[in-house]
Amino acid sequence: MSSVKIELRQDQIDKIHTICDSFGNQSGELINVLHKCQETFGYLPAEVQEVIAEKMEMSAAKVYGVVTFYSFFTMIPKGKHPISICTGTACYVRGAETVLNEFKKQLEIEVGETDVNGVFSLSCLRCVGACGLAPVVQVGDKTYGRVAPDDVKAIIKDYID
């Protein structure tokens, strides 16, 4: 698993400590701590995991083990406009794969990657609960329904100023 090397500032370390404290530093609350930290930093780089591990008195390997187990947690920073393509069954049978391929082609990145400018990242989701609009694409908080490969260019253009 690749990760970006970063240097945490003291205020960021303090923030992580505050989050751990708010959950009583209880090992059973690790997943909640990780959710909060990902909300704060956007992702969970190794450095953040190490601070959590030390604070909550567990091994870094345990934290890493939990982070990598759950697909919701990511160790790579997302783009400014994260693009998620729903590949749940309902979207798949209505052509999500061709839409996904078009995004890959247009953005020249693979699933799980962020483009060089840090603007777009690409990921897959399993059912966002809007199967009536399949295939569904989300960019940040916005949902696009009934997306065809031909619409992809226009969607990307919405986010390039």
Partner: protein, 597 residues
């Protein structure tokens, strides 16, 4: 509902909300304010109506008018015409696809006629963010009844007699499960609601939580009282932000009303509910994995026994039930076991919620009595196959289930019937497939999912499914042999028999059932190297349609291997033996003459 003479119910489910239904509600409120009608007409954001395909939905009460595909800019006209002048806005009414007539009233829509809404009773009816609306529809009276007039044993007996079975997949009788948890003595017990809903393409539980969160809270308290627990947790996916927000609101309101917390309704019963978040792992829907995840660990299943009812969360007796199972509980208590068991079949009582999706006209959420046939569900409620295509199969049970075909259409839906025909009830996903779908690809899709989601703890599932997937990939690439089909089946059986948890034990089902029902299609892939539905691109060939080709030579010049021949202004021809399928010709041709076939 007293002072208002009219209600505008706007769907606030995920599907409609992502199409700006919240803006519609805002605009309606503004219009009403402008007209001085805010005291007589109320706008309510409800949960999902089930008819997501034609969202955003707006229903007007008391006249039952059902508007579909409403846009924010329609708000003004709806208020002017319908609210003030009492004239329906024709163009927004649902059009019956068969008669092509406008249907004025939801009671006359084919979609609703055969439905019986028990678990979904309040979805699309009440504002899920206002506890008083739930209470006005008998909410929390079942809890009151249980606390005031029943012993826990009596309530458990009532549940047993009702015949309610788990809606999360396995179909275990709910009353029996509560009884086990009750009989295990401990200083602390827990009630857990499984809201992980991992089946991709299913959204039943999410809709219940979004549309009627209090029904689940009330039921959890009832379970708590029955088994002797004072704490409940809802394990919910972090990917469900709307459901989480509504649950938090509901929990806050219930606490304020003294319906959660200490000495509930003046009794000596204490019960509280909190949320635990999942983080995107299908296997965490399995109850032992879910409990490990709640404890902050990797969500790996463990061997049963011990069952959660003996040793669950924090090693204490824990009762795990699915969202939909719980949503049925309060109604059963109020209307009685006899009423509930009069609905459904001999062994499958009550109703089942299904998320209808795929190649079907009315994608959405439906609830039907057990014993309804697949034909009724797909063709009457679901409105048949999209674009007039031919029905091919329906997958139930998600990645753990199997496909059912034409010959199963008249089978009444029940736990037993589905299993006997190679599928299962599962949590209620129902994916409809048409003639354009390749069954080998569908099996491959589900297997990709299981391989990705296998926790890796045991070898048959971790390695076996990977091998199964490789075989399927080879077949879809045209590199498969007939002997691979035997290998698929044998390996699938071994994985089923030797995997540790339900994920591995059911993962080969989509492969095995598509092989049972569509063996010809598998044969076509391995023997003729053809994909009859034209889905597997590696098995398709680029081909120039003579009538469309004007002989512009653009394709021939673009072809990197020079396999396109033809004179200028004459139809061109692709040599399939040397074509490397790069697709350049198709991209260049401006006359749609190059096709894949």
């Amino acid at each position: 509902m007293s002072k208002y003479s009219m209600h505008l119910l706007v769907c606030g489910g995920t599907g409609c909300k992502s199409q700006e239904s919240d803006i519609i509600a805002e605009k309606l409120k503004n219009e009403l304010l402008k007209q001085g009608l805010e005291e007589t007409v109320q706008v309510i954001m409800t949960g999902c109506f089930g008819f997501c395909e034609k969202g955003p939905i707006l229903k007007v009460m008391p006249d039952n008018t059902f508007y579909t595909q409403v846009k924010p800019e329609d708000a003004e006209e709806i208020v002017e015409e319908h609210v003030i002048k009492g004239r329906r806005v024709e163009r927004l009414l649902y059009t019956d696809p068969e008669t092509e007539a406008h249907v004025e009233d939801s009671k006359h829509m084919g979609f609703y006629k055969k439905q019986l809404r028990i678990a979904l009773r309040n979805c699309g009816v009440i504002d899920p963010e206002i506890i008083d609306e739930y209470i006005a529809r008998d909410g929390y009276s079942a809890l009151g009844e249980v606390l005031a007039n029943q012993t826990p044993e009596e309530t458990i007996e009532l549940m047993k007699a009702s015949g309610l079975r788990g809606r999360g997949g396995a179909g275990f009788p709910a009353g029996l499960k509560w009884d086990f948890a009750r009989k295990n003595e401990a200083d602390q017990k827990y009630v857990v609601c499984n809201a992980d809903e991992g089946d991709p393409g299913a959204f039943m539980d999410r809709s219940i939580l979004e549309g009627d969160p209090h029904s689940v809270l009330e039921a959890m308290a009832i379970v708590g009282r029955c088994i002797g627990a004072d704490m409940g947790y809802i394990y919910i996916r972090a990917e469900y932000p709307l459901a989480i927000a509504r649950l938090k609101t509901a929990i806050g309101q219930a606490r304020k009303y003294g319906l959660l917390g200490k000495d509930i309704l003046g009794s000596d019963f204490n019960f509280d509910v909190d949320l635990k978040y999942g983080a995107g792992a299908f296997v965490c829907g399995e109850e032992t994995a879910l409990i490990h995840s709640m404890e902050g660990e990797r969500g790996e299943p463990s061997l049963k026994p011990p069952f959660p009812a003996e040793s669950g969360y924090m090693g204490k007796p824990t009762n795990v039930n699915n969202v939909e199972t719980l949503a049925n509980v309060p109604v059963i208590i109020l209307k009685g076991a006899e009423w509930f068991s009069s609905i459904g079949t001999d062994t499958s009582k009550g109703t089942k919620v299904f998320a209808l999706a795929g190649k079907i006209n009315n994608v959405g959420l439906i609830e039907v009595p057990m014993g309804t046939t697949l034909r009724e569900v797909i063709f009457e409620i679901g409105g048949g196959i999209k674009d007039g295509k031919k029905f091919k199969a329906v997958q139930t049970g998600g990645p753990s289930g199997g496909c059912l075909t034409e010959k199963h259409l008249d089978m009444p839906i029940s736990y037993e019937n589905l299993v006997a025909n190679g599928s299962m009830m599962g949590s209620g996903g129902m994916i409809v497939l048409d003639e354009d779908d390749c069954m080998v690809s569908i099996a491959k899709f589900y297997l990709e999912f299981t391989v990705e989601e296998s926790c890796g703890k045991c070898a048959p599932c971790r390695i076996g499914n990977k091998r199964l997937l490789e075989l399927l990939e080879r077949i879809c690439e045209g590199k498969g042999e007939e002997s691979d089909l035997v290998r698929l089946r044998n390996l699938g059986e071994v994985i089923k028999d030797t995997s540790l948890c339900g994920l591995g034990q059911s993962s080969p089902n989509p492969v095995l059932s598509t092989m049972d029902n569509f063996y010809d299609e598998y044969l076509a892939h391995v023997v003729d190297k053809k994909c009859p539905s034209g889905v597997c691109t590696d098995l398709l060939e680029y081909f120039i349609v003579e009538e469309n080709c004007i002989g512009c030579t653009a394709c021939a010049r673009a072809c990197p291997v020079g396999c396109i021949s033809g004179e200028r202004k004459e139809p061109h021809l692709i040599n399939p033996d040397t074509c490397i399928k790069c697709g350049a010709c198709m991209e260049k041709c401006k006359f749609d003459a190059v096709i894949l076939k």
